[in-house]
């Protein structure tokens, strides 16, 4: 935990989160802020080529440059026990065989397969010395043809990246029933087909990736400071690829400047810093520059979904089929194949009652940065694809998109509902959610607003999305938390999930306040430190609140029992007579005195009794099904092609809401990340596989004012899938926004014949579409 020391009394200020004070004072502690005396600096020599064979490498001039302490190559990594970087387990392929993984080496051996791939590490006394020395490297490359994306990699005659992957296909995967889908298509009255692309993105947490390792030669333990989404996964992954046993690594994560899925596990630089610190017996630090992390943080999305939909005469959906192409980049790292299989397929029927579903995905290598999880990890992409396809089909065949959605919704009476490809949804009410969203968006008067915009020379469009997503099932058996009261009556909770801005401490303290009556100021949350026996999942898949939160609820029940026993002794009554109701403790059948608050009760206990209050809470929680409806109105200026978002309504059904303002904050942030993808963000490689968008000069980011306001509402239907009754919110804003924004653009652009346009809807692309038809 980070503590702040300040002479100023801030008791007069109300804080919306307990995390905020240190951050607004500039007293946050991010990884780059960590210093050790005598620390060395690591610099990465990276490939300048997208695809090449390393013919020879002469690093002697680097080694003899001023200040250089060690120059590390693939051989050194191997000699010190390093292994390749981790990947999620292989996907079971259509042929019934598990996918053959081509994992990324920490440092390139004979081949480099993307621009930015690490080749050597230079460790020197100062950063500048390491950087200057690196320039003296003599590396002779034999440049090869490159596949700049999955489409290029699939062209006949394309160069092959890995010997085991014929046609550059890493795996193929299927879900659903192809024969059933074909039968439905055969009897369909209407069929539509649309290719939908979710372009490659950077995740862009504002804190660039960084890692500092300090080795203690006496204990042989290495302490690692790095942003993570939870210590256990970072520790386990790091142990896998560094060869250092888990028990010899302590991981310290203090403040984390955003994660969005990118920070689950170790990268090459983590391994380099750990091995260097252990070998040299000194602290070693690497802080990525933005340009560097653009070349090396796992990239996002890079998915193409070819969708087809079959409708009957009345517009009821008969079947949906997707043929996906998933660009995994140069290697299998972490989550790409999981995204391309489970996460795309699990909700592929969306919110609709669809008799037949089939998805086939091909994971394809290309000479690009490996892809992995980013805000939704396939969930926004499949929601985007379904909702664009449904909208497209409605317009193509003359159906009203809202009425058609409504009549195809899985009705409340059909829950629990099992989709045609086997996913079980517990309870949703899509009709109620959409009805509220349309009302809040004043959908009824949209035609008047559109006419007025047209009068003013603007092109207005309205888009609707109705989404459902499956949150993360979790990889741990259960989520556990350990609560320990101090002698002073402060409850410290340790869990596995690590915060990176979500406000874990604030929300978890609220749960304790509700369950146990303790004041939120007396509750701390920390992601568990090394040596914990706790099990649990890191942050990811929108599951922290209900995963760890359910365990906290269970912990509170245990603490309540312990307090009851202690209080019974103080009150000289039986524990059964001690009652805790509506935040107040009293004795059944006792005096008529008003009950005691939990604060009063804790004050009544002795310091020793207080510190005896500890409990390990646990809960098993699997996937939930957050859902919602976003309604967007946009206005295009035909003179410039620029689009303004003039009305944004998000109604999300997230189960129980613990912290309404934090939920709004998550939705705002998710929606604007969606807006970034919809209107400006895209990673571009040229035909040689050079990264064209290598800095913020070329990679457009959403800025203040891109979204001026948002109507937010939540519907709390609840869920019995976890103890807390929450469904999670981390990814829903992003998932709901992509299709709503795109459908609004399509409604505006359809009269101009541009309703197959791909994101990002840049002013240039939109302007050209308008010119072509006017």
């Amino acid at each position: 935990m980070n503590t702040t020391t300040t002479a100023v009394d801030f008791a007069q200020t109300t804080f919306s989160r307990t995390e905020d004070l240190r951050l607004i004072l500039g007293q946050g502690h991010f990884t780059a802020d960590q210093h050790y005396p005598g620390e060395l600096h690591l610099f990465v020599i990276r490939s300048q080529y997208a695809h090449a064979r390393i013919k020879s490498m002469d690093l002697s001039a680097v080694e003899s440059a001023p200040g250089v302490r060690w120059v590390m190559t693939a051989k050194d990594i191997e000699a010190h026990g390093g292994k390749d970087l981790p990947s999620a387990p292989p996907v079971m392929t259509t042929s019934g065989k598990p996918q053959e993984l081509n994992k990324m080496p920490v440092l390139a051996r004979e081949w480099v397969r993307f621009v930015g791939q690490p080749i050597a590490f230079v460790v020197a006394n100062t950063y500048h010395q390491a950087q200057d020395a690196a320039e003296k490297a003599q590396i002779d490359f034999e440049e090869l043809e490159a596949c700049k994306n999955a489409d290029a990699a699939k062209l006949p005659g394309a160069i092959q990246l890995h010997a085991s992957a014929r046609g550059n296909v890493s795996a193929d995967f299927q879900s659903g029933d192809l024969a059933a889908v074909q039968a439905q298509f055969a009897k369909a009255h209407h069929v539509s087909a649309l290719t939908i692309r979710s372009q490659r993105l950077f995740g862009v947490p504002m804190e660039p990736r960084a890692v500092v390792a300090h080795h203690d030669p006496v204990t042989q333990r290495t302490r690692l400071h790095t942003p993570s989404q939870g210590l256990l996964s970072m520790q386990a992954y790091l142990a896998q690829c560094s060869g250092v046993p888990e028990q010899d690594i302590d991981i310290v994560t203090q403040d984390v400047g955003g994660s969005f899925g990118l920070r689950t596990g170790a990268y090459s630089e983590h391994v380099g810093v750990v091995i260097a610190a252990r070998h040299l017996g000194v602290a070693v630090k690497w802080v990525g520059t933005r340009s560097e992390v653009f070349l090396s943080d796992w990239h996002a999305r890079a998915l193409t979904l070819n969708g087809t939909i079959a409708l009957d005469r009345e517009g009821y959906i008969l079947a949906i089929r997707f043929e996906d192409r998933v660009d995994v980049g140069a290697y299998n790292c972490y989550m790409s194949s999981f995204i391309g299989s489970r996460n795309l397929s699990v909700t592929m029927g969306g919110v609709y009652r669809v008799p037949a579903l089939y998805m086939h995905s091909e994971m394809v290598y290309s000479n690009t940065v490996p892809t992995s999880a980013y805000r939704g990890a396939g969930r926004p992409d499949i929601a985007y694809s379904i909702e664009r396809l449904v909208d497209f089909a409605c317009h193509e065949h003359g159906f009203d998109p809202i009425k058609t959605r409504r009549k195809n919704f899985i009705p409340v009476s059909a829950f629990p509902y099992k989709t045609a490809n086997g996913t079980g949804y517990d309870l949703c009410d899509f009709d109620q959610v959409m009805t509220l969203a349309l009302k809040l968006a004043d959908h009824a008067h949209y035609p008047e607003r559109k006419a007025a915009a047209s009068q003013a020379g603007k092109v207005r469009g309205l888009g609707v999305s109705t989404y459902v997503e499956a949150s993360g099932a979790g990889t741990a058996q259960m989520d556990q938390v350990l609560g320990q009261m101090s002698e002073e009556g402060v409850l410290t909770i340790q869990g596995v999930t690590g915060p990176s801005g979500q406000g874990h401490q604030t929300s978890f303290a609220k749960i304790v306040h509700t369950e146990l009556g303790m004041l939120e100021k007396d509750i701390r949350y920390g992601s568990a430190q090394t040596g914990t026996s706790l099990q649990g999942n890191g942050t990811g898949g929108s599951r922290s609140l209900y995963g760890a939160g359910s365990a906290i609820k269970n912990m509170c029940a245990q603490l309540k029992e312990k307090i009851t026993t202690l209080l019974a002794t103080h009150w000289s009554c039986s524990p059964q007579a001690v009652k805790f109701e509506q935040g107040s403790w009293h004795q059944a059948g006792g005096s008529d005195q008003p009950g005691l608050s939990t604060t009063d009760v804790l004050a009544l206990l002795t310091p020793k009794e207080r510190s005896s209050l500890s409990a390990t809470g646990e809960a098993k929680s699997g996937s939930t099904f957050p859902n919602g409806c976003h309604v967007v109105e946009i206005e295009i200026d035909p003179e410039t092609g620029e689009t303004a978002i003039v009305n944004y309504t998000a109604v999300d059904e997230l189960g129980r809401v613990i912290s309404p303002h934090l939920v709004r904050g998550q939705v705002h942030g998710g929606v604007v990340q969606g807006l970034g993808q919809a209107f400006m963000e895209q990673v571009v490689y040229d035909d040689q596989g050079q990264l064209i968008t290598g800095s913020f000069m070329d990679y457009a980011m959403p800025r203040a004012g891109d979204l001026k306001a948002m109507n937010n509402a939540t519907v709390e239907l609840g869920t019995e899938l976890n103890l807390l009754g929450a469904k999670g919110v981390g990814e829903s804003g992003c998932t709901g926004s992509l299709p709503a924004l795109a459908n609004a653009m399509m409604e505006a652009l359809r009269p101009f014949g541009a309703d197959r346009m791909d994101m990002p809807f840049t002013p240039e692309k939109v302007w050209r579409a308008l010119q072509a038809q006017s």
Binding site: L23, A32, H128, M206, G257
Partner: protein, 158 residues
């Protein structure tokens, strides 16, 4: 090596630096003021924004040796006895999540309000164009600056 003397948060800081040392490196590495963050290497993100002689600047765009004798205020120097109204508004409006962009965002906002005490939301958005945030979606940030400006106007009349 050369010497740079800069008054930071009211305190004269004199350090031996390389001539290529940026102001942000001077602050973080020599003054140990790590509240000023580095989020990019092309002066786009605004995480390193500080106030120099009354103007907000990105501390990665200027060399320490160029600022001999200058007065610099960083996030650490903003609260005097109580939180600055902009700091207060940021927490009250939930205008921060991870908090990495927050110091730069707050310093830009302080300068913006100093120069335009009654900004419209559009003016605020325009004024913060040089500061990126990946978590909040900006709506609450603009709201916070609007609230802070109002609080400061009321405060200055009192």
């Amino acid at each position: 090596m050369t010497t740079a003397s800069i008054t930071v948060n009211g305190q004269l800081q004199t350090h031996e630096v390389e001539s290529r040392t940026l102001l942000v490196e001077f602050l973080r590495d020599h003054c140990q003021l790590t509240g000023t963050h580095v989020g990019c290497d092309t002066s786009q993100c605004g995480c390193c924004t500080v106030i120099v002689n009354g103007d907000s600047i990105k501390a990665c765009t200027v060399l320490a040796v160029q600022l001999e004798g200058a007065h610099v205020t960083t996030i650490e120097g903003l609260s005097k006895g109580d939180l600055h109204p902009v700091q207060k508004a940021f927490t009250q409006c939930h205008a921060l999540q991870c908090g990495f962009c927050t110091p730069g965002m707050i310093m830009s906002s302080v300068d913006l309000i100093a120069k335009n005490p009654n900004p419209s939301k559009d003016e605020i958005a325009q004024g913060l164009e040089g500061n990126f945030c990946r978590c909040t979606g900006y709506v609450n940030i603009v709201e916070a600056v609007h609230e802070a400006a109002q609080a400061m106007r009321v405060g200055s009349r009192a």
